[in-house]
């Protein structure tokens, strides 16, 4: 009997000790962002969530305008959205393949900037995405950031090529634009690259006006640097790899692009082994019908552009891949033919999982290209963007 009580006391003591390890409910430390930061991101559908639907007060793209640099490298704050888009395929001397994406987005939340003495008062919001595809390790790294343009936290310059969000930046080391340094790092990976442009830029669409849907103004201003010689360093898990390769830069700004019937796009930017490039975007409609506003361009080795209309290119999806993260099924292998150029290409992602699980979810990945041009074998590389897919 006495022992019963001793046991009771011991249990009581143990109970107290157990209680002692109990943590104060709200002091539990949240883990720091891991390299898988992206997987914890919330997905609230589309970028439209950030933007209001009301485009009143914003400028719109109605007709072609001459681009002037460095001014047009800078922000066009009166347009609602804008991006500085870098993608590229890289190799280290041992032939290890990498792909990267560094994109700065700018969104105007309101057409006007309220007057204020506060440096934080801003109507411009920047977002940046950084990805790295480590083909050998079959790993895809992503990171994203946001900041307002205020207090020098993010912005872009129209004096020389410079766009930045915190310490991620694309900044010229020359007077106007090139050589351009890309610098961005995340917790577990980083890129630091110098881009030069031996080939120059092309105006996409109709002299830089890229119509996305029939309504006037539903268009963007769009120019590309389709082939940028790239060399620099990528780091994975603190381990640096010096790499060389080819990048592609897109600059595009608009206020409204897609129409209500359109659901998304498949965008291809391919650099072929004969020093030509192909850009094509296929717009998708919500009803699954063919959208006649799809278009693209073929850039010859001498940097002249051949515009491609909707019917100029045929894209056949050969395979699909279901993301384990989002359960979304994406097309994953394509046959692209441009009959006018006698171009028959098969496009294969370097790895399947290049889905960006960030605030706005999309698939953007490095691809390998094989095929024939006028019957002769041709190869290449590039990036494919699959936007607006859902479960």
């Amino acid at each position: 009997m006495k022992t019963n009580y001793l046991i009771a006391i011991v249990l009581l003591l143990l109970g107290t000790i157990w209680l002692q390890t109990f943590q104060f409910p709200s002091t539990s430390n949240a883990a720091l962002d891991s390299q898988k930061h992206s997987s914890s991101a919330k997905n609230n559908g589309s970028l439209g969530a950030v933007l209001s639907n009301d485009s009143k007060g914003f400028a719109r793209a109605y007709k072609p305008q001459a681009f002037s640099f460095p001014n047009d490298h800078g922000p066009h704050n009166q347009f609602r959205s804008e991006w500085w888009y870098f993608t590229g395929n890289l190799n280290n001397p041992q032939g290890r393949q990498f792909g990267y994406e560094l994109t700065f987005f700018r969104f105007a939340l309101k057409p006007d900037l309220p007057k204020s003495k506060s440096a934080w008062r801003s109507n411009q919001m920047y977002m940046a995405h950084l990805t790295l595809t480590d083909v050998e390790a079959n790993r895809f790294y992503t990171d994203e950031r946001f900041s307002r343009a205020g207090n020098e936290l993010a912005g872009a310059s129209n004096k020389s090529y410079q766009v930045w969000l915190y310490d991620w930046s694309a900044k010229t080391e020359g007077k106007v634009d090139f050589p351009l340094r890309l610098h961005a790092n995340s917790n577990s990976f980083a890129i630091d690259m110098l881009l030069t442009s031996p080939k120059g830029y092309v105006k996409q669409g109709d002299q830089g006006l890229s119509q996305k849907s029939p309504e006037p103004g539903n268009a963007s201003y769009y120019y590309s640097y389709p082939r940028l010689e790239t060399n620099g360093t990528v780091s994975v898990g603190g381990k640096p790899f010096s790499v060389i390769g080819t990048s592609w830069m897109d600059r595009e700004w608009s206020t409204s692009a897609l129409s209500n019937e359109q659901s998304g796009w498949d965008w291809f930017s391919l650099q072929l082994s004969d020093n030509t490039e192909l850009m094509f975007y296929q717009l998708r409609r919500k009803d699954g019908q063919h959208d006649s506003n799809s278009s693209g361009s073929y850039i010859t080795a001498d940097n002249s552009k051949i515009s491609l209309k909707d019917h100029d290119a045929t894209i056949t999806t050969l395979d699909s891949w279901k993301s384990p993260h989002s359960e979304i099924t994406y097309p994953s292998r394509w046959r692209l033919s441009v009959s006018s150029q006698a171009l028959e290409l098969e496009i294969v992602p370097l790895i399947n999982d290049q889905e960006l699980n960030v605030s706005y979810r999309y698939w953007e990945g490095a691809v390998k290209v094989t095929g024939t041009k006028q019957g002769k074998p041709i190869s290449g590389q590039g990036y494919v963007e699959l936007a607006g897919y859902s479960q």
């Binding site: 009997m1 006495k2 009580y5 009771a8 006391i9 009581l12 003591l13 109970g15 107290t16 209680l19 002692q20 109990f22 104060f24 409910p25 709200s26 002091t27 430390n29 949240a30 883990a31 720091l32 962002d33 930061h37 914890s40 991101a41 919330k42 609230n44 969530a49 950030v50 939340l109 309101k110 309220p114 204020s116 003495k117 506060s118 440096a119 934080w120 008062r121 801003s122 109507n123 919001m125 946001f146 900041s147 307002r148 205020g150 207090n151 020098e152 936290l153 930045w164 915190y166 310490d167 790092n185 917790n187 605030s359």
Partner: protein, 848 residues
């Protein structure tokens, strides 16, 4: 057998519901007070964290600055240099235009920082806190988030307006969303919080270019990183870990907390007496039963277990009800404690009572173990009862008389030991308090012996006049000394603690009053509150000062700026004075000094420190303190130590001239106005009043004196309340002891009745006895209270807070003590007396 044994025990307990209830009450009250203090104290401290969690989230570190605030460029520099996981904050307090509302805290955030912060406004996002809301918060000026509950209370709909009064006048915020509150705690925490975009906060609070702090989320092993951040910080900024900041808040309030907890412990100890008393009663009452059981073959061990199991049951019920009571009491104490912390330590915004299993478990363990401890002696006593011969009560009494003598010796050791501990224990507050407990306990043990002596004395002196009946109460006190002695001791301890604390508070009050008198040399004081980060505040302040100085009737003005400087790696309160000749006399130095001190203060990097600061940092004249200036670290020589009772952490005092040499001008927080002899003060006051903005105020030195003394009284409200609680428990103790006592002598009282003593005579008899006990307790409490006061003043308080004070004797307090003890005992005697008087003598004679 066992179950039968238990049933006999249970039946017995049920037959004495009063004892049962009182014992449970004793444990319950003791546990309740301890838990309540613990909960209230922890909640107050935690609320500081809780509230900031809403906007700091999982931050581990923080960059803070002195009152000048942080330059917002620091944030972009850090960001653009690649430091990530930063959260800039602009915070400030505003008043609602709506009357009767307290001030609200505005927290300006950047909605687009890393999600990993999981701040209150980030995490727990429901439908109503969406990215859309964040973009609105950022892009639409004067938008804010408010707790749903608060919005309801203020009758604000979504997209409704919240009117504020700020230093820039009335402003209006649009409430565009509600902060989700998931539980009662977060509801409280969010209650007085307005979340806005950082730009809005800057605009509303007029804090352009400034940040209040930058929260940082660092990985656990980021010492290198920390160092890198430190190297980027300007002179006025400091990187602190939130843990260490919380730690320092705890340290800051440690003395306060220890003193409170000691009071709680006092209650528990008095409660322990109650348990001891009841268990002894239960054993004594059953000595016949136990004897019979032993005859029947029940072993000692079984008896021991029986008593323990009863105690366990009592303890369990008592502790559980104590926990419930403690939570309720904690709710009440919370206001008092957080009020005190608010008044003398740091600002607490919202204080929900947070109940953790750990604290409840602690209370549980304490209650249970105290009960077991208290019951050991009676339990052993029960096993000692021989099965053959059940001892008569009187024999037990003569046994306890022997014990009392032994205990008398022991008490001598305790008292001497206690005094020794008090004076040779260095800086430890705990030891200081322990010494008080030793002294109290020692005198408590001595009480039975002293009671016996005094009763003998009373009989010798008054015996002749008293007659037999009059002698009876005196005899009863000494005859059942094992009971009465303990009751007297408990009462004595409670009363002497009361006397001691009263004397201490009285002395403290006198000291502070004198200090206040001398430290308010100016006739009028202008207070200039408002955020010192305000970009051009110093210009306005300067202009105001000049205007006041030019007013007719003003002889001279002095100014003060209360700010914080980084001393030895800590933000340290500093008062920067521009002293008028008259104000120099207001300093009470703890050492001899001459006028050269003022020259040095004005012209050399020197400081005066207040007594608490010198005490806590073991500083002496001539030593140097390293201050972080805008030009790097610099040693400031301590040239004076002055008396100051405005806070227990102490502060630094510096001349404005020197301050301006090393730090940016932040204006003033106060202007002292010295009037000419012939000036009409009221007129002057109203004329100054006309120069002031709504937030500024002018007050006479009398008004400040009055307000300060009120604050003083306020800080002791909690002490006062706790003291009464322990007195109440002592009262219950005495009551229970008397009830038990009367019950035990029910037969004796029956005999008296049979002899022809009327029931009212019996009541008088019993009340005389308890009155006598009260008187005894009161008399003993005087010298003990004196010693307690002495130790409190010269040992505990000096160690806790670094204050020296003079001992002020107040005869009224002693008188009060005696009256308190006497009345408490009398009151405690009334009910038993009435009950006994009502008991039918036939039944009384039938017992045993």
């Amino acid at each position: 057998m066992n179950s039968l044994l238990q049933r006999s025990s249970r039946n017995f307990l049920w037959q004495h519901p009063w004892q049962l209830v009182l014992a449970i009450l004793g444990i319950a009250l003791g546990v309740a007070v301890v838990i309540a203090i613990d909960l209230a104290m922890e909640s107050s401290l935690n609320s500081f964290n809780q509230a900031s969690k809403v906007y700091t989230g999982a931050a581990t570190h923080r960059i803070i600055a002195n009152d000048g605030g942080l330059d917002e460029k620091l944030y972009s520099q850090l960001r653009n240099k690649g430091v990530s996981h930063l959260s800039p904050l602009v915070t400030g307090y505003v008043k609602l235009a709506q009357a009767g509302e307290d001030s609200f805290k505005i927290v300006g955030i950047d909605p687009f920082i890393e999600k990993s912060f999981q701040s209150g406004w980030q995490s727990g996002q429901k439908e109503n806190v969406s990215p859309d809301l964040f973009t609105r918060l950022m892009s639409e000026p004067n938008t804010a988030l408010l707790s749903e509950k608060t919005a309801q209370n203020l009758h604000i709909q979504l997209n409704g307006q919240l009117s504020l009064i700020t230093s820039r006048g009335q402003q209006s915020l649009t409430i565009i969303g509600f902060l989700p509150n998931t539980d009662a705690v977060s509801e409280q925490v969010l209650a007085k919080l307005i979340i806005t975009d950082i730009a809005t906060a800057q605009e509303v609070l007029d804090l352009f270019g400034k940040l209040s702090s930058i929260e940082i989320q660092l990985a656990t092993d980021a010492t290198k990183f920390e160092a890198a951040i430190r190297s980027m910080l300007p002179g006025n900024a400091l990187l602190v870990s939130l843990d260490s900041q919380e730690q320092s808040l705890r340290e800051m309030t440690q003395a306060f907390s220890i003193n409170l907890k000691a009071l709680g412990l006092l209650s528990l100890l008095v409660g322990m007496f109650l348990i001891y008393n009841t268990m002894t009663f239960l054993v004594m009452q059953r000595r016949r039963l136990i004897g019979s059981l032993r005859l029947l073959g029940v072993t000692r061990q079984q008896i021991f277990t029986l008593i323990l199991s009863e105690a366990f049951l009592l303890a369990l019920i008592g502790t559980l009800s104590g926990i419930v009571l403690g939570v309720l009491l904690g709710q009440g104490l919370l206001q008092l404690i957080s009020g005190t912390i608010n008044a003398i330590y740091f600002r607490i915004d919202a204080t929900p009572l947070v109940i953790t299993p750990f604290q409840l478990g602690k209370g549980m363990l304490l209650g249970m173990s105290v009960t077991f401890f208290a019951v050991l002696l009676p339990a052993f006593e029960a096993t000692r009862l021989s099965p053959v011969k059940v001892m008569a009560r009187s024999q037990l009494e003569s046994g306890s008389r022997r014990l009392i003598k032994v205990v008398g010796f022991l008490s001598g050791f305790l008292i001497i030991g206690g005094l020794a501990v008090a004076f040779f224990s260095g800086k430890s507050i705990n030891l200081g308090l322990a010494s008080i407990f030793l002294i109290l306990f020692g005198f408590g043990l001595l009480t039975p012996m002293l009671t016996l002596c005094l009763m003998k004395l009373i009989e010798c002196v008054f015996g002749r006049f008293l007659g037999v009946l009059g002698r009876l109460p005196v005899r009863m006190v000494s005859a059942e000394i094992s009971r009465t002695g303990i009751a007297i001791a408990a009462l004595m301890i409670a009363v002497s603690a009361t006397i001691g604390m009263d004397l201490m508070i009285g002395s403290f009050r006198q000291t502070v009053a004198q200090w206040l008198h001398s430290s308010l040399p100016a006739d009028l004081y202008v207070s200039l509150p408002g955020d010192k980060m305000g970009s051009d505040k110093f210009l306005f302040d300067q202009q105001l000062k000049d205007k006041i100085a030019q007013l007719e009737g003003v002889q001279m003005v002095s100014t003060a700026l209360q700010t914080k400087l980084i001393a030895a790696g800590e933000l340290t309160k500093t008062t920067v004075y521009e002293l008028a000749t008259k104000s120099k006399q207001s300093f009470i130095f703890k050492h001899s000094m001459d006028d050269s001190l003022w020259d040095r203060l004005e012209n050399q990097p020197t400081i005066i420190v207040t007594e608490p600061y010198a005490y806590h940092h073991a500083l002496q004249i001539g030593q140097k303190i390293n201050l972080k200036t805008n030009q790097g670290a610099l040693g400031f020589e301590v040239i004076g130590i002055n008396a100051d009772y405005s806070g227990d952490q102490g502060h630094l005092i510096m001349s404005r001239q020197i301050y301006r040499r090393y730090w940016p001008d932040l204006g003033y927080t106060g202007i002292g106005v010295y009037a000419r002899a012939e000036a009409d003060l009221q007129q002057l006051e109203s004329r100054i009043g006309q120069l002031l903005t709504a937030q500024q105020a002018v007050k006479s030195n009398q008004a400040i004196y009055k307000a300060s003394m009120e604050l003083f009284e306020q800080t002791f409200t909690i002490t006062e309340a706790l003291r009464w609680l322990s007195a109440a428990i002592a009262f219950v103790g005495v009551f229970s002891a008397l009830m038990a006592l009367q019950f035990e002598r029910i037969r004796q009282l029956g005999i008296l009745r049979s002899i022809g003593i009327t029931s009212s005579q019996l009541s008088v008899l019993i009340i005389s006895e308890t009155g006598l006990m009260g008187l005894m307790a009161g008399l003993l409490a005087i010298p003990v209270g004196f010693i307690v006061a002495y130790v409190l003043i010269f040992v505990v308080y000096q160690r806790s807070f670094g204050w020296t004070m003079a001992f002020y004797f107040n005869a009224g307090i002693l008188f009060q003590g005696i009256v308190l003890a006497f009345i408490a005992a009398l009151l405690a005697g009334v009910f038993p007396a009435l009950k006994m008087a009502q008991t039918h003598p036939a039944e009384a004679l039938r017992t045993e």
